[in-house]
């Protein structure tokens, strides 16, 4: 049945005499594999050599602090709503007097938990966050677990360590796009990574 005028017959099933002899095609195949035998190996020797995962890779989560070390999260719950796996849960609390150096907003997450086995690393939480608080790191994975009770990560593991801050070239996609255009035009060659969104 012909429906369009764009069809193209691609399958030719009649064998020529030399094809029916088996050996020429076998020799050709052997030549191809032999070429590969001597060609350069593409393998990345993983634990020793690590591959650059790209500027926007969606790895393990981090709860950012701002430049004064205050937690950015205000426990609005958008990330939890956006999470298709329902992996995020949190309990919000009002900031009391004297906690201004700890929390940036008036409300904060007293408990913030991500179930790392539920998480599907889709990046919707990062996209949903209006406070630049939650990010998926582009340079680290979530490690493997051996026990079931390690998998729910609380704030102790999620909140950024001020001594070892997570740095990135661009913190929003618009910024990343701008940066890429600058790089492509040659105006910028090296970009400093910075810790502050």
């Amino acid at each position: 049945m012909q429906l369009t005028n764009r069809s193209k017959q691609v399958s030719n099933k009649t064998m020529t005499f030399s094809e029916s002899l088996f050996l020429p095609a076998i020799a050709k195949g052997l030549a191809i594999t032999l070429k590969h035998f001597f060609s350069k190996k593409v393998t990345i020797q993983y634990p020793e050599v690590k591959r650059y995962l790209g500027p926007v890779f969606r790895g393990r989560h981090i709860l950012k602090r701002d430049e004064q070390g205050r937690e950015r999260c205000t426990a609005c719950g958008l990330c939890a709503v956006a999470c298709p796996a329902e992996a995020i849960s949190m309990i919000a609390e009002e900031r009391t007097k004297g906690e201004e150096h700890l929390y940036r907003e008036e409300k904060y997450a007293a408990v913030y938990e991500i179930n790392m086995l539920r998480c599907i690393f889709c990046g919707l939480c990062e996209e949903a966050c209006p406070k630049q608080a939650i990010y998926l790191r582009h340079d680290e994975f979530v490690p493997v677990f051996t026990e079931r009770d390690q998998v729910i990560w609380g704030k102790d593991l999620l909140v950024e360590d001020m001594n070892n801050r997570y740095k990135r070239e661009a913190w929003t996609k618009e910024e990343a796009r701008q940066l890429d255009q600058l790089k492509a035009s040659g105006k910028v060659t090296t970009v400093e990574t910075r810790a502050i969104p």
């Binding site: 076998i26 195949g29 052997l30 191809i32 594999t33 032999l34 590969h36 035998f37 001597f38 060609s39 350069k40 190996k41 593409v42 393998t43 020797q45």
Partner: protein
Amino acid sequence: MELTELIIKSVVILVVFGLTLVIAMYSTWAERKVAAFIQDRPGPNRAGWGGLLQPLSDAGKMFFKEDFIPAQANKWLFIAGPGIAMITALMTSAVIPFGNTFIYGGKEVAMQGVETNIGVLYVFGIVALGVYGIMIGGWASNNKFSLLGAIRAASQNISYEVAMGLSIIAILMMSGSLSLREIVNQQHGGNWNIFYQPLGFIIFLVCAFAECNRTPFDLPECETELVGGYHTEYGSMKLGFYLFAEYINIFVSSAFMSTLYFGGYNYPGMDWVYAQLTGALGATTGHNIASLIGMGVLFIKALAFIFFFMWVRWTLPRFRYDQLMDLGWKKLIPLALVNILITGAGILLLKPWLTALLD
């Protein structure tokens, strides 16, 4: 038999046995490496330098894995299967002449497990037994996949033995002897049989692939169709025996092919080397070293064949069962018969003419 002779014989047998095992063991490593290299990857490189401890690692694991016999299986046959496969595989290497003679204490000792005048027949006899290991194991497992594998193995081996035997008859017609050493000695220097029997060699090669159950004829195990074929139900060292037997078979058929068609331990210019060595080192040492070189040559040939086996395995798709039978019965056997006719005609007509011409 004198005691020294007995000891020497035992040593030779042990050496042959050990060599076969070591080569088979490292064939598993080579298989992984060759596969990896063909597929643009480095292969095992963590267990020992370049993964050289990989075979030991596999063996260590297999020895200490739970030995399991399925409840519905026939227990004795289930155990006998891998045993038979292993024994027959090891027995074949006995008659292969690995080198010329060694002179020890004024005695010439052949570098060969057993020197018989029916070497070729012996190999055929033992190889034919080898399929029982697979058949018994596959049947005793009481698994449909295993049974299918066993049936395939049996019919495949029987069919291809016919063509294999026929292809060798041409060689036997030329050499007039069934002794492998005799056949080798007739190919002195570069006078190898491959130049007289190219067609016979190709037939033999194809049949050797089929007898070893290697791709493109690996239907009895055939991972994507029969899961593991005859060894689906086997684990631990019993599986190890089956896999090991396969590699021994590959080694033996490689050595056998080198012997029959590629002059065994002969190589061009060997007389000159021999003369140099005996001249420089004296008759005994020189002879021994020349023999060692010959042995090395044979091993290089055999290893090249082993590489070829692996190379083909990682290149070609496999046949279907009926196509395999078709190839065996309808193509290879007639071809082998034609080969015999040509050889016979050659011996009758061409040889007198050639000898007359040369004289």
